[in-house]
Symmetry: none
Subunit: 235 residues, 2 copies
DNA sequence: CGGCGGCGTCAAGAAAATCTCAAGATTCAC
DNA sequence: GTGAATCTTGAGATTTTCTTGACGCCGCCG
């Protein structure tokens, strides 16, 4: 990454802007991969592991905020948002959803480039790029496509179940506190719904574990929380 | 830092804005330290190690850009720049000098707060990689994952056992009084459960010590308390 | 020698946390 | 408004953890 040109994925449906970026960015030492839809952009993300994403919020196939959130479920790649909307609340929600910067159109190319450099500075410090799929035992979780397989059979998870699983994956190997899970799933408010959490864990086990009675990966740490056990190479 | 409110240093000479920030930021969970000049601000930086800096570019005693550059010579603290200047070139030079964000006055408090959260997110990630494991003999305690290994075999500890161990680790090498342990584990109230404490120590030894009869690390100091013996380099 | 206090171990009952099933709510699309 | 999917809540069974009491060991002092 440091030794070759940074790769930027541009997710933008307006052709003129895309053309503009396609022309400008390479002049400044970046490689560019384009996508006109969110789905295509996310596919690029998963396959190419770019160093940065430029994301237009006004995409045809998906709500812009949801794109940010979905990327953030599994990737920490820096996201620079472009948007025609100037409303402060739009900026706030986008930034809180996980975007790293927010530029309103029309923007100057110079400022965009400078902000890209800032975002890449941050990204460069980050450790090895994350994998787009998580594997453990005979599980396989395709984080980009939001699909889960057990022994090559696809398993359907409800939204909550899936989010719970991604939180555990994000902290794989570590114990995740009840409180932490509750906060990530339901927000700071409902830090009381312990019981609900247990039920969802139970459901996940029923769907993913061969023998839900004796979990192989979805371990409970009594009095503390839950932990996703990773494969141990030596075993 | 994670356990207390983030500290923000505000370097700003305009009193109204300073007053405004002094009023708003604490309402959103931040501690604030103010400086009206660059020199004072830099002094605060060096002494307090804040989590973030809000910097006005129009300071009386120093050119704004130089402030950024000077801070960056020795600190990576996130810097959010406020400026009345809208010129694109000003933004670019500030960002390239090391600023993490750039807001032009007048700015909305909501957007400022959102961008502060982004900058703090980055800062937190940078500070995170602490070697959070304790080693002694053939023990290895992964404090981040809350896991304990003895001779590469994972050992399961109950919540109380684990907390007891972490207290001793926190004071590794030093004697920890009975009273101190009781207070840390059960609160000021139950300073009588000496016997219970002994049982837990016993359990810990059974799980961690090769020969619980002759402890290598979980030493008892008769009449006083317990002590976690560290490795001695000379052995 | 014999009693005493501090300590460690064991085991049993009490307490707390967790799991599971199933019955209401709720949500969302149609 | 209806129905399907999902989420939440309740209750009882089950598991894990904590506490307590009994007992034995050891060193010390009278």
């Amino acid at each position: 990454m440091a030794d070759s040109k940074p790769l930027i994925v541009v997710i933008e449906d307006e052709a003129p802007i895309r053309r503009f970026l396609r022309a400008s960015l390479p002049l400044h030492g970046y490689r560019v991969l384009e996508a006109a839809t969110a789905a295509e952009g996310i596919r690029h993300l998963a396959e190419q592991r770019p160093d940065l994403v430029i994301l237009d919020l006004g995409l045809p196939d998906m709500e812009g905020l949801d794109v940010v959130r979905q990327i953030r479920e599994w990737s920490e790649v820096p996201i620079v948002v472009l948007s025609a909307r100037e409303r402060e609340s739009d900026k706030i929600t986008a930034l809180d959803a996980g975007a790293d910067d927010y530029l309103t159109k029309p923007f100057g190319i110079g400022e965009l480039l400078a902000r890209l450099r800032v975002a890449l500075r941050h990204g460069a410090r980050r450790a090895a790029p994350e994998a787009a799929t998580y594997e453990a035992g005979n599980w396989s979780v395709d984080l980009a496509a939001r699909r889960v397989f057990v022994a090559d059979e696809e398993v359907h998870l409800t939204p909550t179940e899936y989010r719970l699983l991604t939180v555990l994956i994000r902290h794989a190997g570590k114990v995740v506190t009840h409180r932490q899970l509750l906060r990530e799933l339901w927000g700071d408010e409902h830090e009381d719904a312990q019981h609900t959490l247990r039920v969802h864990i139970s459901q996940l086990r029923r769907k993913l574990e061969p023998d839900p009675t004796r979990p192989q990966h979805l371990m409970t740490e009594p009095g503390v929380g839950y932990r996703l056990r990773e494969d141990e190479p030596g075993k």
